[in-house]
Structure formats: structure tokens, C-alpha cells
Symmetry: C2
Subunit: 360 residues, 2 copies
């Protein structure tokens, strides 16, 4: 029988599932599914040779699982959220080498950073990108967290406003979203919304999806396009890659520990599957065109492809980019890697194709 099953599967010639179930159904069920849980044995994972030397270096770095402790005091929270001098130096150097200006501006009472290319091409003069940073809803803000905003402003040669939204412990859900939406409401009166793109990675990727969903609910203007990088679209441990890519992902490693803690701290008691927290449970009807970016080792691979499918099911133009060997967010970490240029290039081209150019 096994040979037949293999044949069927390999040539996609036989719907063999019925027999398969009979073969395994006497095991114990688990994982929320009716079917038995499999054990994947220990195995070796080399750094792939199918990516650039620069990206190999990025992939070779592996965080220890659960090495990131939740702060236990105000001082620890402050230190976490301030970022490090090395981060600030790194992003400042990058920004200056790319010829971008940075200005702090308070919009609708919310701290923002405005990142401006030196010579904006005519086509982009009336365009704007609105950015929300990542960091599990609990860190990643401040000037030291403007790396994505800087690299995307450079790749697109477009002005970026990055929202430095409020965070726990003082400001759990919905403060971050309230801040981002408050900024959007103002920005949408100053720049034609059809000339605006939203972008973000990880938590920021989820937030831009949530922002569009909330704009639709609240009958606010929508941006012309969205770039959601490996979005944390499901804050609960739901989705196959939370299991299949656990410990394969060198950045996030696993759901248990930091990620789960951050989700619960931000949610403040609200169900993690609430569509205001996890956009995958919301509706994607009427969404703007969206580009999604992830990697084959990403713990959020399922978060990304599930979002892609939901968008496609809602007949939204949605483009999926998956980078070889890449863990969470690694496609955007090292601006010297050709894959980073490629990923930002795809995003820039997608936004350029969808954003309007006229001054009103």
C-alpha cells in the first residue's frame, strides 16, 4: 500500500487521504486537530549556500531560544525601549551614508520621525510612506528603531513618517493602534491618500493590516498600497510554522517565552484572537493592494501565507515574496546583502506601481 500512496502523492494522481487516516487514526490526537501529532526527529541544519555571502552571515547568527526576558522593573522597561547606543550609531551611520534627513515631529499628539531623502524625484514629491515599527508591541521605538524607515525611504526615494507609538507597560492595547490611526487621520488630510503607502515589518506588518481594517470599519481614507513584512497576523499560537519552524527560525526561535509574553502584555487580557489584535481574524474585503515578504525559515511563514491567501480570497491584488533560508525579518537586516536590495526593490516597485503622483 505504501508504494501506492507515494505514487499518488508524488504524481498528484490519487486522493489518498481517506486511506491515510485509517492508517494513523488510532494514535492519540493533539495540537487542536483530530489527527495525531507527529514527532520530527533531531536533525542538522547547515547555513544555506544558495544565498549571498552577506546573507549567509546574517543566517549564521542564531539567538538562543527564550534569551529575551520580559522586563521586571520600570528601569528594565526603560532600558529595553531606549534601544542601545550601538543601534543608534548603526542607524545614524546608515541614514547619513544614504543622504537622508531626520526630523522629530509631533503629529496629533504622537511622536513621529520624518525621514526625508535629499533629492526626491519628481514622481515622488507628493507621495508619502507611513511606517510603524516592529518589536513585539513592547520595544523597537525611538530613533534607534528607525532602521526600516531609513532603508525604505532610501529604496523608494520617498518621504517616510514613522510613528513612535506608545507601548506597554504603561500603554497596552489599543494605545499603539490609536496612535497610528491618529497620525493617519492627520496625514490623510495633508497628502492625497491615493499617494500614500503603509509599511511595516513583524508587529509593524500586523499593524499596517490592522490600520487598513480599522480605516475600512471607521470609513476613513485608505492608502493606495500596503507592504506587510512577515506580519504578526495571529498573536495566538495558531498557524503551522509556529510548530514546523520552531527553533529553525534563528531570530524568533519559538512562540513560547518572549513572543507569548509580549502578546499577553500588549493584549492586556483581550483575547489574542480578537480581530483588533490579530488581523487574520478580521476581514480583508476592500483592501488596498498588498505586498507580503517572508523567508522559508520564518516562524511567521504561516502568518504571512495565511494573510496572502485571505487577501487573495477577498480578490485583493496581493504579491507574495519568500526569501530562501531566511528567518524572521532577515531579508531586511543587512543593507549590504543583495537579497535586502532585492526585497526592498520589490517593495519599492510595488508601491511605485500603485501610488498616485498628482498633488491632489
Amino acid at each position: 500500500m505504501h508504494r501506492r500512496e507515494f505514487l499518488g502523492a508524488a504524481v498528484v494522481g490519487v486522493a489518498c487521504a481517506g486511506r491515510a487516516v485509517a492508517a494513523v487514526a488510532d494514535d492519540a490526537g493533539g495540537g487542536g486537530s483530530l489527527y495525531p501529532v507527529r514527532t520530527i526527529p533531531e536533525r542538522s541544519l547547515p547555513v544555506p549556500t544558495t544565498v549571498s555571502p552577506e546573507l549567509q552571515k546574517v543566517i549564521a547568527f542564531v539567538n538562543p531560544p527564550n534569551q529575551f526576558a520580559v522586563p521586571k522593573s520600570r528601569a528594565e522597561w526603560a532600558a529595553l525601549q531606549a534601544g542601545t547606543p550601538a543601534m543608534l550609531e548603526n542607524v545614524t551611520k546608515l541614514r547619513e551614508s544614504l543622504g537622508l534627513g531626520l526630523e522629530r515631529r509631533v503629529i496629533a499628539g504622537v511622536n513621529c520621525f520624518v525621514i526625508t531623502p535629499k533629492d526626491i524625484p519628481k514622481r515622488n514629491r507628493h507621495r508619502l510612506l507611513l511606517h510603524v515599527h516592529g518589536g513585539g508591541y513592547v520595544f523597537g521605538g525611538g530613533e534607534s528603531g528607525t532602521y526600516e524607515a531609513v532603508s525604505t525611504a532610501a529604496a523608494t526615494q520617498t518621504k517616510v513618517i514613522s510613528v513612535d507609538y506608545r507601548m506597554p507597560p504603561d500603554h497596552p492595547f489599543p494605545a499603539a493602534m490609536d496612535d497610528a490611526m491618529a497620525v493617519w487621520k492627520v496625514v490623510a488630510t495633508q497628502v492625497p491618500p491615493r499617494n500614500v503607502g503603509f509599511f511595516g515589518i513583524s508587529t509593524g506588518g500586523a499593524m499596517v493590516l490592522l490600520m487598513a481594517q480599522r480605516a475600512i470599519r471607521e470609513k476613513l481614507p485608505l492608502p493606495a498600497a500596503i507592504s506587510a513584512g512577515t506580519p504578526w497576523s495571529d498573536l495566538s499560537k495558531t498557524g503551522d510554522s509556529y510548530f514546523a519552524n520552531a527553533l529553525v527560525d534563528g531570530v524568533l526561535r519559538q512562540y513560547e517565552g518572549s513572543l507569548e509574553s509580549f502578546a499577553r502584555i500588549y493584549a492586556g487580557g483581550v483575547d489574542l484572537k480578537d480581530p483588533r489584535l490579530s488581523p487574520i481574524y478580521g476581514t480583508f474585503d476592500g483592501f488596498p493592494p498588498t505586498i507580503l515578504t517572508t523567508g522559508t525559515r520564518d516562524l511567521f511563514l504561516s502568518n504571512t501565507v495565511r494573510t496572502h491567501r485571505r487577501l487573495r480570497q477577498a480578490k485583493v491584488e496581493a504579491q507574495l515574496e519568500v526569501y530562501e533560508g531566511v528567518s524572521h525579518g532577515q531579508y531586511a537586516i543587512d543593507h549590504t546583502a543583495p537579497e535586502t536590495a532585492e526585497a526592498l526593490g520589490e517593495i519599492a516597485a510595488f508601491l511605485d506601481r500603485h501610488l498616485g503622483v498628482a498633488d491632489r
Copy 2:
């Protein structure tokens, strides 16, 4: 330091690779890369709850690793390549229930199956899809192997010609490709090439890529579009998911054993990285628009996304679809699963968008 690294990675705020390397570079290198090989510990993998009940059933089926022995005699080869009565019954039932006709036809000396929908919509009357089956270059032919041809003819409501190409042990490389190209040369004189799409899954997915590359090399007509499902684009064990998804993929399981044997039997001594065997090493310049389909657990996830990147680098319109929790080819196994309808629907829409309609 670890907290800083995590911060950097999670918010994509710091290029931390340089320090990472310093931390691990004293380990032994391996896997063809300069960097140390990681060990991924044993872990549990439940059937995902984020897919339909029908697809959960498909995913719950798991082949034992290496259960597929290479035939040791002519009789064993014949049995393998004949398929089973159950497969034939299954595909015949499906075909009849979908109202499709089947005709055997010899084209350019090559056995083919012509699958014809009962009432072809006007828009598709002058269109044709050319199909090459999967099966590791060593099985999957004959009428019992026409499942993909049947399901795609139904999804597209377009006539399909499926090439029953010659296979090892009597006919190793390049017989399969010679047969497919001989059929294409004839078909291209009978139907306007701009009205033709190529499609295939697995080995068939690789073959349609190789066919387009060879058509470009030999200055033959190109089809209007290609659908390559989880293509075996690299016959060598190169690509991250050969490692990361080993034993996670419930269908192919791993490279070692059957897959490697089939590759070597087909290649007949030719280097597995020869671009006539592994299209990833060929050029994609001038390619027709291509849709690629895979799943998050697919052993060929890297084969698929590497191909997607190569196409995009060559400025080819290329659409990537990745299905949640799906192992090799499982998106197309069970025609009752909504995900199968979705995947075939994406492919049908892509082909419809690119194929011409006029009779010449």
C-alpha cells in the same frame, strides 16, 4: 549582548551578523557553507487547524521515509510505471464526473492523452494547455497518471494534451525532454503558441521550465504562460528546504533514498547541476509569465522560491502561491479540498490572463 542581538533582529534595526559570526565561528563548518551546522532538536508537529478539514486529512497522511524502493527488475519497473488499478479507477471516476473526454493520440511519435471538456467556452476554443506529469522522471505516466491533466482541464475548461514521455531504465535523460519538445514543436504549428500554456507539478514543474529554456535556446516558439507546481528545479541536494523541511514534508520526506536514486537514474551520469537537468542553473531571460505553487512544509519549498527569485531577477512576471501546512504537491491531491479549488483557480486565472484567444 544577546538582548541587543535580539532587539536588532526583531525590529530589523541592527545589522548584527558580524558579531554573530564571531560568536559561533569556532565551531566546525559543514553543509558546504563556511558556517557551523546547527542541530534542530526533536519536536512535535500537529496537523494544522488553519486548513480545511479535507486538507487536514491530506496532511495527516505521512509516508514512511525511504519507503519507496528503486525497482530491481524489469517486472518491478513495469509494475511501477503501469500505476495501480485504484489510481486508474480514481482518475477515471474524476474525469467522468467532470464531464471530460479522454483520447489517446500519438504526436511526433510520442504517446499523448488529449483531455477535452465537454462544452469549451468560446474564449478557450483556440487555446491549449500542454501538460507533463510528475513522478521523479521514473513513473507517473500512463492513463492512471492523468489526474493533474484532468483536474486542470476541468478548472480551466480548456483542452489539455498530456505527454506520456519515455522514462528510465530504458530511456534516461534526455528522452523525456526530447519527447516533450517533439510534441511542443508539432503543437506549436497547430495552435497559436500565444494561446498555449505549459503546466506540470514536481518533475513536471521542472520539465515545463526546462522546455521553455530549451525553446529559447533552440529559437522555437514560447508558450504564453507557464504553471510550475513545486518544481524539482534542482536535482542536487542544494537548497535550504532539503534540510529544513526534511521529514517535515509528509510526502517526499527527504532527499536521501528514492529522490536521489531517481535523479541519478534519470541523469545517467550527467552532473545533477547540469542546466539541462536542473533549470535553476539555466537562464530565465525572456521567459513567459510563470505562476509557481508550493506549501510551507514542501521539501521543494526552496526549489520553488529560488525559481521565483530567479524569474523576478530576470524581470519576468512571476506569481508565487504558498499554501499553509502543505507538503509536496498536496495542494492538488484532493479535488474536494477548498484549497485545491483555490490553487487551481489561481492557476486558471493566471493562464486566462496571459493566453491569447484568437484562432491565429
